[in-house]
């Protein structure tokens, strides 16, 4: 009993110390080779979707930014946090259906954190999660402004689709820690305030798969972790 208490106490101390000694992991995800031509989304099946766009809409499966970086790559700590527990943040993660496209296309969320699914379209949508470890849901949102709140207990990355509009799909990554990010229009990311230690950081892309990198976070200062995906 005594030993167990001691261990617990030690772990707690390390944790507190860890929190105070933390660094940021930042980097960018570059793309090598010619950007594949994005498929045009044919929205003929629903006039509401057609009318929502003046210009042609293309698939977000592969988006190469103008600076040669790759958008929609999810970066996260895969290993190294041990048994640390992190409270879910109070603010909700928003996930919108706008112009019959999911916004954002790739989104990260923490276990226990609330996902606010909303529809900004005056048409019928259904949000169907194809999760494996978390219970699946498939809820219709027939009216503009409808919302739905969901929480996930198990870490996993899964696809979400709309069966009414077969072109609509998105990805949700669930993590049991706050150290994740998704690359945007400049391909950069940062995992903030990571406790000092050795980590495996993974970069995930829906088409190009995953890559991992070993990262050492010192007591102070930032670490750079650049990833590169190549055209297939």
């Amino acid at each position: 009993m005594y030993t167990r208490h001691l261990l617990k106490a030690t772990a707690l101390c390390m944790c507190i110390v860890g929190q105070s000694m933390a660094g940021d992991v930042t980097g960018k995800v570059s793309f090598d080779g010619a950007a594949p031509k994005a498929a045009r989304l044919k929205m003929n099946a629903d006039p509401v979707c057609m009318k929502a766009h003046k210009n042609p809409v293309t698939s977000e499966e592969v988006v190469v930014n103008s600076n040669g970086t790759l958008k929609n790559v999810m970066i996260y700590v895969k290993e190294g946090l041990g048994s640390r527990k992190f409270d879910a943040p109070g603010q909700k993660v928003e996930f919108d259906q706008l112009g019959c496209v999911y916004t954002p296309h790739v989104v990260g969320i923490q276990t226990g954190q609330e996902l606010l699914v909303k529809s900004s379209d005056p048409t019928l949508h259904n949000v169907h999660s194809l999760s494996k470890d978390n219970p699946q849901f498939n809820v219709a949102q027939p009216k503009k402004g409808m919302t739905l709140t969901k929480k996930f207990e198990k870490p996993e990355t899964f696809k979400v689709k709309c069966e009414v509009h077969t072109w609509m799909n998105a990805w949700i990554g669930v993590f049991n820690h706050p150290f994740f990010a998704v690359t945007g229009g400049d391909g950069s990311f940062s995992l903030k305030k990571l406790p000092a230690g050795d980590y495996t950081v993974e970069a995930w892309h829906e088409k190009y798969g995953t890559q991992t990198m070993k990262v050492k976070v010192a007591a102070t200062g930032a670490v750079t972790a650049d990833f590169k995906f190549a055209a297939k």
Binding site: N126, N138, A140, P142, K143, E163, V164
Partner: protein
């Protein structure tokens, strides 16, 4: 049971001419032939099934085996040639059957064969051939005229589980002298224990190791022992109904295409679009009206044909020519799986509640049900993109679905059919329409149900000439 000498099989000559090879290939690849037959290099369904044997012959050399006219007659109506064949009818039109025949005839056996000179008139050869047929017991499986009453050529297996090792012949092998080892090696290679003096005639079946172990387990159970009563499962009426229907379903290979009792749907390995996979039918007893099921099993016209529930799906539910007894067993099986009993219900008496009906219509429109459920007779739209976003035609609901099932389905579709594309509009029993019918999800779903009943083709009267 057999082709009797009195009822000579004849078929029209020249009936198969002028088919299109290309259309035939397309039909073979879409209507469902490949569900059971391997044609070409596509082995996906065979692999998904995972057995060492196919349920129907591979057709890659069929053009060298049968004549075009025979093939045409066979695919148009397999029971014309063999009244007890398991091969169903796909309700092919004459033109479709001609096209498929034309394609099948291009599938030749390209292997070099040595020319053989046969003297078919020689009485000695005939006598010898007849002797060999009797010796090998061909009539054990085949119906051979004049041999209908011949017995089996091999030993009875009814007490095989008790067979003593001393009674087993291990030939010249060094197989360990145990019942288990003898059976395993026999099933692995039925000629394994053959010696110079003792010939063995059991066919070589090429079972997989897994199948051998299953068969061995079954053989071990083949004894004349009376098991202690307490170890014998007593089947009540419901279990008996399920068991006899289950056997029929296995015999007709329903699971080759459908998911039933959590297994099957092998055909889905060859269907890219999930929406085109044949339906899961485990919950059919709860779902469909008994008179509809009877008519459907007797004469299915659901898939691939106009005026059906999903006319845009190319794969066809075959016609199995079930007898009334078989339909009855299958109906009780499906009802049993849903813990329901066969009762005569008059579905025509189900009328929409006049107060709920207009509300149901409003919800139906508000929820945009027609976005996915087409209202007219939709057919495949070649060149116009996929029809995979479509859902069943709802005008069939009234004459097909049980009224209480509709409400249960609306409440939580995924609970009744895991993975369905149909979303729930009342998540967790909560209505998104607080001002309609006091915000009661149950009442709103009943209203939609009543509206559905009002728009459809009527239910079939229960009293019928069965």
């Amino acid at each position: 049971m057999s082709l009797s000498a009195k009822n000579e099989f004849t078929y029209a000559k020249g009936s198969s001419v002028e088919g299109s090879i290309q259309r035939g290939k397309q039909l073979v690849e879409t209507v469902g032939c490949q569900g059971c037959h391997v044609v070409g290099e596509n082995l996906k369904i065979r692999e998904a099934r995972g057995t060492s044997y196919d349920i129907a012959p591979e057709l890659n050399r069929v053009g060298s085996k049968v004549s075009p006219d025979w093939a045409y007659d066979w695919i148009r109506n397999p029971r014309h040639y063999n009244p007890t064949t398991k091969m169903p009818s796909l309700r092919l039109t004459e033109g479709e059957a001609r096209d498929i025949t034309a394609y099948l005839m291009t599938l030749h056996d390209e292997r070099p064969m040595e020319p053989v000179t046969l003297n078919l008139e020689s009485p000695i050869a005939i006598k010898k051939g007849e002797g060999l047929i009797r010796e090998y017991g061909c009539n054990g499986c085949h119906v051979i005229r004049g041999m209908e009453k011949e017995g089996r050529v091999s030993v009875s297996l009814s007490n095989f589980g008790r067979k003593k090792v001393e009674e087993m012949d291990f030939g010249d092998t060094d197989v360990h002298h145990a019942w288990n080892d003898w059976v395993f090696n026999k099933l692995k290679n039925s000629r394994a224990f053959q010696t110079e003096r003792i010939a063995q005639k059991m066919p070589v079946f090429a079972f997989s190791e897994e199948e051998i172990k299953l068969l061995r387990m079954f053989l071990l159970s083949e004894t004349k022992d009376e098991p202690d009563r307490k170890y014998v499962q007593a089947f009540d009426k419901k279990q008996q109904n399920i068991e006899s229907g289950r056997r029929l379903a296995i015999m007709y290979n329903c699971q080759q295409c459908h998911q039933l009792e959590k297994s099957g749907s092998h055909i889905s390995a060859n269907i890219e679009e999930a929406a085109f996979i044949p339906p899961i039918i485990t919950g059919e007893g709860k779902k469909v009206q008994e008179p509809w099921l009877h008519d459907f099993l007797q004469n299915p016209s659901v898939t691939g044909q106009p005026n059906s529930i999903r006319p845009w799906i190319p794969t066809r539910m075959p016609t199995f020519n079930f007898s009334d007894d078989e339909i009855n067993k299958l109906t009780k099986y499906f009802l049993g799986l849903s813990s329901q009993e066969l009762e005569l219900r008059d579905y025509t008496a189900v009328r929409p509640d006049p107060a709920l009906l207009p509300v149901g219509r409003t919800i139906f429109e508000d929820f945009q049900c027609l976005k996915c459920h087409p209202s007219g007779n939709v057919v495949a739209r070649p060149g116009e993109g996929s029809t995979a976003d479509l859902a069943p035609v709802l005008t069939k609901a009234r004459g097909r679905l049980k009224p209480e099932w509709i409400v249960e389905w609306l409440a939580d579709p995924n609970k009744l059919q895991e993975g369905t594309r149909m979303p729930t509009f009342w998540p967790d029993g909560q209505s998104p329409l607080p001002d309609v019918l006091d915000g009661s999800a149950q009442k709103q779903m009943e209203a939609v149900r009543d509206y559905l009943i009002s728009i459809g083709q009527p239910a079939r009267p229960v009293v019928s000439a069965r």
